[in-house]
Every structure is written in structure tokens, then in C-alpha cells.
Amino acid sequence: MDYEKLSLPNYNIPEDIQNAVAITTLDRLYNWGRRSSVWPLMFGLACCAIEMIAAQTARYDMARFGMEVMRPTPRQADMMLVSGTVTKKMLPSIIRLYNQMPEPKYVVAMGACASSGGPFKEGYNVVAGIDKFLPVDVYIPGCPPTPQALIAGLIKLQEKIDKESIKTVRWYNKEKFDGNYVPMPILGPDLIDVRRHAEIRDIAATKESA
């Protein structure tokens, strides 16, 4: 076990019990547990998914970070690694998966496509970034990011988790509890974000016919 990350630095623990005792705060304990076992959702979209698989294999071995347990079901996953182009046709499924994940949940946008649509942004079936719908924690640029870049990004996620506090994280915040649920978009003549119904209707009404 890795006590040095768990113990608070300003307590002087006698040397002979350093490996047995840790003085810490609840936040730190919570974050330490969380960061050391981020289980990703086994979920690949496109090219980046192959680099994600490569990061799981022998050479890069994400198991060293407690991230090797790829769960096929969202109910057991902590992190959604959006690895590839998000298309409009796929988006409802992604949102459904996200809604099914229990809190705490993190979203990592891997690669250019997931961050902003990437080279395919101009395409008619491409969502210009998963952050339009889900709260993204870490963006990893690259097309595709190499496994090392992916691990570097996941270390950034761990750093972010380290700074969290139970008091402020959004999933324990009663006032905006619904913030973790994203309404499902609908596939109509184009992708309909149900949160924007009124806006879409108004703009469509003022639009000139082609």
C-alpha cells in the first residue's frame, strides 16, 4: 500500500510505525480509494479505442493504476472513456450509458474527435464534442493519443480526483442532484436536444426556406 499518498504531510509519524499508521482526513482517504481504482467502462467508439486497448496490454499496462478492470456494464464503472468520434446516431446510447453509471462518475474525452469533433467536425453525422452533453473532466488531445499520452491524461484525472472534497462534489449536492442525469436526445430530422426544444422551434420558425 501506498501510505505516503494517504498520510497528511504535516504530522510526524514515528519512523517505526510509518508503514502501519497513517493520519489522514476523510477526504484524503476517500480520494485515495477513488483514484486507485478507477474502473473504466468497456466502451470503444473508433480509432482511439484501439489505442485504449493497447494501453491495457502488456507494454503500457494500465493495471498499474488500478484501471485494468474494464466493466462491460455501466452499473459497475466509474469512468467513461469516450474514445473516438461521437456520432449523432450513437449519442443517445452514450447518454443512456452515462445515465446508468452510478456516482461518482468521470468522463474523459480521449482524442480530438471526442473533445470537439476533431477532423470530422464538419461532418453531418458528427457531434462536435461530447462536452455538449456530458460534463468532461479531462481532455486528451491527439489523433489518436498514444497509449502513453492516454496514461498521462489519466494521471491528470487522478490529480483532479485528489483535489476533490466530499463536501463539494456534485453528486452529493442535494440542490442540483439532477445534474448527474442528462436527458436523452432524440433522432429527428437532425439530432434534437430535448433541453433546447423551445430554442430549436424559434430558430426553425425564423429560418428561410432553402
Partner: protein
């Protein structure tokens, strides 16, 4: 064979490749030769298409229809459907086209009763061009969803983030103030709705057509009197073993599949539309992202297609480098195939960890020569972008002559006799040669069914006619043969690699001067290569401008998937997972 005299001016052509077919003489008045400059083939009367196509298959022996695609000639007010037919005995192909007035409804008779393999490709043409194929039993949208507005590949259809007709966009320079595309669209996103659209009143498509068509394909109970209920199961698009975001709707009777329909388009990234906006050069990195396991092969296919149009020769050394890269790419693709097949059979991790280890070593080579592990972007028109450094060449030699053959043997020792594996693979999902050809299946799947059709031999491109290798072929067409043939192909690729590494000459690596704007004369070209997954074709139409007028990819996985219905009806659902691995589909190429 290995030391055949090199004649770069006129690549060796087999007698089959030089033969010509005169359809005009056979069908006077019905068929006309395509006389547009740069074009080849024949234009067939729409009314007689089925008759001509039947004769093409039965009399002339073009039994493999590989590519069907539409082209929108908006200036001439014509919509064209282009068919590319080949013989499984090898040789040059036959191109025939149908032209119809560009007034809705655009109707063309379906050829599904002649070549069953046109199924998905005709649906794609309907989806993206709005060409109605009369007689097609299941003409639904395939890449987009039912209810989507418009047919996106038509030249008068504009996407929501439309900026200009062609790249480069003028807003980038010299006054390139960075703006997001979102700011220019009225809906502030990649969206476009028809005028007066009201989302509250929109009725969502319940995919009834899909289930109706699934019902139609479902085999009815014949045995016994006991009536059992059928269950429809939707597998995917998020499913750990569908190799990406593929969805299949399956009707089950107990555990037996009695009907199945793949649903795709979950990774439809609009390669064709973006490709028609790009310049010729800009398309190369986009081809990397088609079949993302084999960016080198994709580059290869696109490069030879455009070179065909440009009528240029490739530098001698570059030809060898290309072959080396394409064959290394084949080896690593088949290694992944083996690992992934084992994963899907339930042998999680260990075999795939072993195969990925060898793949990493090959990717190191790609990274050293091209700069990227997966998205190599290594080919240029007339050659390759940079030379192979000597130390990398040395590393390739070491891999090819020592490590990879030993590791292939080790994998075979590791897996081939495993009783569980044999039980899961032997005599399951048998595809016979006749059906394979009817469904336009290509690549290892076709060869495992007993058809020795390998484009490197049947229609040699680049310098494959200089190498001594055998076309891997097996005869049972079951999963075991499909698995074993991958090992055969790895060995043959290593053979080619050994020869190429021995023969590679010194010299320039590109016959052209580096230029970011190439001149491509007007015309059309269909270039195809034997990618590790099957025939990868590119159909490019040029009108002399810096951007292709039509850019179409004929992906191997997409067409191979046509046969999936035929192959799995009557088998168990658990084996279906392995079938998807066996077809070696990759969604980037399948959905484009």
C-alpha cells in the same frame, strides 16, 4: 518469378488483364460506350439493366460484383449508378453504369436477385443519394437513421457546418481570427432543421421497418406442432464483442438464431462528403482513419487510385517500401484478428496480450518511418513521404526473418490444438464458395471458402507480380479454416517481405516533386487493393479541379457483412459473437 526483368514503363499484365469485353456489340441499342474523356465502361439503358447484368454474370462470367455506388452529376442533371464487376478467376473488370434523370423519384432496378452482395451497397446509395432501387426487398436507410432530412451526398445538400464548397477555406488566412463553427450556424451547433420544425410535435421513428424486415427474413417454424415464442434481441451498439459500435437485431428461438439484421452507421463519419471537399492530398490522412488497423493499406489503395488518374509512375524504391509496409500491416492485422477472436471466444486476455506484444513491435517500425503508430499518413502520390532509415530497415529484417516466424509458430502451438477452440470453431458458420461469391465476399473469408481470389495475384497492382508467394486458400469455409488461413497469410506475407527486403534498390523515394496541390486530369478511376480484410476499393471521379468530384470508398468489411445473415441463421447466439470476430469487421471502414 522473383527476379523477373523489371520493366517499370509497362507493368506486367497477364493475358486476362488485357482482354476487352464489347458489350455494345452484344447489346446494340441498349448499351453505349462511355465516351466522356477519362471515363471507361458502358452506359446501360435503365430498362434493360437486369437483362444486361444477367448476361454479364452468366454469359461473360463476371461473377463478383464488388462495388455499387452513385454519383451526382448535378450540372448535367443526371444521377448515375456505377457497377464494378470482376471475375473470380482474375483479370480486369467490367464497369457499367446507369444514368437517370435527376428528378425525384429517381428509380433504378435493383440487382439483388443477380448479385446478393449489392444489398447493403444499394441501401447506402438510397440513403446517401436517394436513388430508389425498385425490387429491393428491404430498402431502408443504412448509415443514417429513418427520419433524417435529405440525402447528404447530393451536391445540393449542405451540412450544418458548411463553410465553402472546397478546401482550403478562405477564413483561415490571411485574416484567420479563430472562430468556432458553432458560431456561424443558426442553431449554434452541428444541426439543421427544416423550416417551421416543431420538436414537440415530432413523432420518433420506432424502427418498425427494421422489425418488419427482420420478421420477413425470419425462418418460419416447420418442425413439429409445438408453437414457441420468438424473442427479438438487440445486441449493441454498446456491446463488448461487437467490435465497435455495431448493432444487430436478432430473432431467437431459444438460443437459435432464426433471423438477423445488422444495423450500422453508429460510426458514420461522412468520409465521402468530407473527401469531396478536401484536396486530393488532404484525403490521405483521412484514409488512415478508415480501417484504423491498417492505415498503410488504406494509403496504398488511395494512392494507386489517384496515380491511375494522374497517370504517373511510382519511384522504384518507393514501390518496395510500399509493399513492405502493406505486408507488415497485414501481419499485424492478422495478429490482432487472432487475439480478438480468442477474446470473443472467451479466452480473455492471454492470447490477445501475446499478439498485441508482436503488434507493438511492428507499430514501432511504423512510428519510426512515418511518425505515428496508427495513423501513418505515409504515402504520397508517386512514392512515399520519407525514406526508411537503415536502422529501421535492419529492425524490420530482424523481425521478419527471426521473430515473427517464431512467434507465429508459437501461437499455433499455443492455440491450434486446443480442444475447446477446435470445438468452438470446427464446422460452425460454414460459408460455401458459391454463396461467398454471390454475396461479394472478398479477402480471407472468401479464400477460406475455397476461392483462391487474391488481388495481389488475380489483378496484380504495384509490384506484386515480382514476388513469389502462394495464395492462401482453405476449403471448408468454416470458422476453423477462417482462423487457420490467417496464419497461412502471415507466413505468405513474411515470404513477400523477405523477398522485398532482399530486392529493395537504392534510389529516390518519390517520382514527383513534393507539392501540396496535385494536378489530376478529369476522368474516373477505380483502384483496389487486397487489404487484410478484403478488397478495398476507391472510386474517384475528377473534374480537373483540385478537389475530387466524387470520392467513394468500397470497404471490405461493409460488403463482407452482407453475408452475415446467410451465415448465422440456424446457429446459436453464442457463436454469433465469434462470427463477428471471424469476419474481421472494423467499424471505421464499415460505417466510414
Amino acid at each position: 518469378m522473383a527476379t523477373a526483368p523489371f520493366d517499370t514503363a509497362s507493368p506486367v499484365r497477364t493475358p486476362l488483364q488485357t482482354q476487352t469485353v464489347d458489350l455494345v456489340a452484344r447489346f446494340p441499342g441498349i448499351v453505349a460506350a462511355d465516351a466522356r474523356p477519362g471515363y471507361t465502361g458502358f452506359i446501360v439503358n435503365k430498362e434493360n439493366l437486369v437483362e444486361v447484368a444477367t448476361a454479364v454474370r452468366d454469359e461473360l462470367g463476371f461473377d463478383l460484383l464488388t462495388a455499387v455506388t452513385g454519383v451526382d452529376y448535378i450540372a448535367e442533371n443526371k444521377m448515375e449508378v456505377v457497377y464494378h464487376a470482376y471475375k473470380t478467376t482474375g483479370g480486369a473488370g467490367l464497369v457499367f453504369k446507369v444514368q437517370v434523370e435527376r428528378v425525384d423519384p429517381i428509380e433504378v432496378p435493383s440487382l439483388i436477385n443477380i448479385w446478393a452482395g449489392v444489398d447493403f451497397q444499394e441501401r447506402e446509395a438510397w440513403d446517401l443519394y436517394g436513388i430508389k432501387f425498385t425490387g429491393h426487398p428491404d430498402l431502408r436507410r443504412i448509415l443514417m437513421w429513418e427520419g433524417f432530412e435529405g440525402h447528404p451526398l447530393r451536391k445540393d445538400w449542405k451540412e450544418p457546418f458548411f463553410e465553402e464548397e472546397t478546401k482550403p477555406f478562405k477564413s483561415r488566412w490571411p485574416e484567420g481570427k479563430h472562430t468556432f463553427s458553432e458560431q456561424k450556424n443558426p442553431f449554434r451547433d452541428n444541426l439543421n432543421f427544416p423550416q417551421n420544425f416543431d420538436p414537440d410535435k415530432y413523432v420518433v421513428d420506432k424502427e418498425e421497418d427494421l422489425y418488419v424486415s427482420l420478421e420477413r427474413y425470419t425462418t418460419k417454424d416447420v418442425e413439429g406442432n409445438m408453437k414457441t415464442d420468438h424473442i427479438v434481441v438487440n445486441m449493441g451498439p454498446h456491446h463488448p464483442s461487437t467490435h465497435g459500435v455495431l448493432r444487430v437485431a436478432v430473432t431467437l428461438d431459444g438460443e437459435t438464431i432464426i433471423g438477423l439484421k445488422p444495423v450500422m452507421g453508429y460510426l458514420h463519419r461522412n468520409h465521402d462528403k468530407i473527401g469531396e471537399r478536401n484536396t486530393y492530398l488532404q484525403n490521405i490522412p483521412f484514409t488512415d482513419r478508415l480501417d484504423y488497423f491498417n492505415s498503410m493499406s488504406n494509403n496504398f489503395g488511395y494512392a494507386i487510385t489517384v496515380e491511375k488518374l494522374m497517370k504517373i509512375q511510382v519511384a522504384e524504391r518507393a514501390e518496395y517500401i510500399r509493399v513492405i509496409m502493406a505486408e507488415l500491416s497485414r501481419v499485424q492485422n492478422h495478429l490482432i484478428f487472432i487475439g480478438m477472436l480468442m477474446n470473443d471466444l472467451g479466452a480473455m486476455y492471454t492470447p490477445s496480450l501475446y499478439t498485441f506484444k508482436e503488434r507493438e513491435l511492428i507499430l514501432d517500425v511504423f512510428e519510426a518511418v512515418s511518425g505515428a503508430r496508427m495513423m501513418c499518413n505515409y504515402f504520397r502520390f508517386g512514392g512515399v513521404v520519407r525514406d526508411i532509415p537503415d536502422d529501421v530497415l535492419h529492425k524490420i529484417k530482424g523481425l521478419v526473418s527471426e521473430r515473427l516466424p517464431a512467434k507465429a509458430d508459437e501461437m499455433e502451438r499455443f492455440l491450434n490444438e486446443n480442444e475447446i477452440l477446435v470445438a468452438r470453431l470446427k464446422n460452425i458458420h460454414v460459408l460455401n464458395a458459391e454463396d461467398a461469391i454471390r454475396y461479394s465476399v472478398t479477402g480471407p473469408v472468401l479464400r477460406a471458402a475455397g476461392v483462391p481470389y487474391d488481388l495481389r495475384r488475380a489483378d496484380p497492382y504495384s509490384i506484386y507480380d515480382r514476388f513469389d508467394f502462394d495464395v492462401a486458400v482453405r476449403h471448408n469455409g468454416d470458422m476453423m479454416d477462417n482462423y487457420l488461413i490467417r496464419f497461412d497469410e502471415i507466413r505468405q506475407s513474411l515470404r513477400i517481405l523477405e523477398q522485398a527486403l532482399k530486392q529493395i534498390p537504392q534510389g529516390p523515394i518519390n517520382s514527383q516533386k513534393p507539392a501540396y496541390q496535385v494536378r489530376v486530369p478529369a476522368g474516373e478511376a477505380y483502384g483496389r487493393i487486397e487489404s487484410p480484410k478484403g478488397e478495398l476499393g476507391f472510386y474517384v471521379v475528377s473534374n480537373g479541379k483540385p478537389n475530387p468530384y466524387r470520392y467513394h470508398v468500397r470497404p471490405a468489411s461493409f460488403v463482407n457483412l452482407t453475408a452475415v445473415e446467410k451465415m448465422c441463421v440456424g446457429t446459436k447466439i453464442a457463436d454469433f459473437v465469434a462470427l463477428l470476430a471471424m469476419l474481421d469487421i472494423v467499424m471505421g471502414e464499415l460505417d466510414r
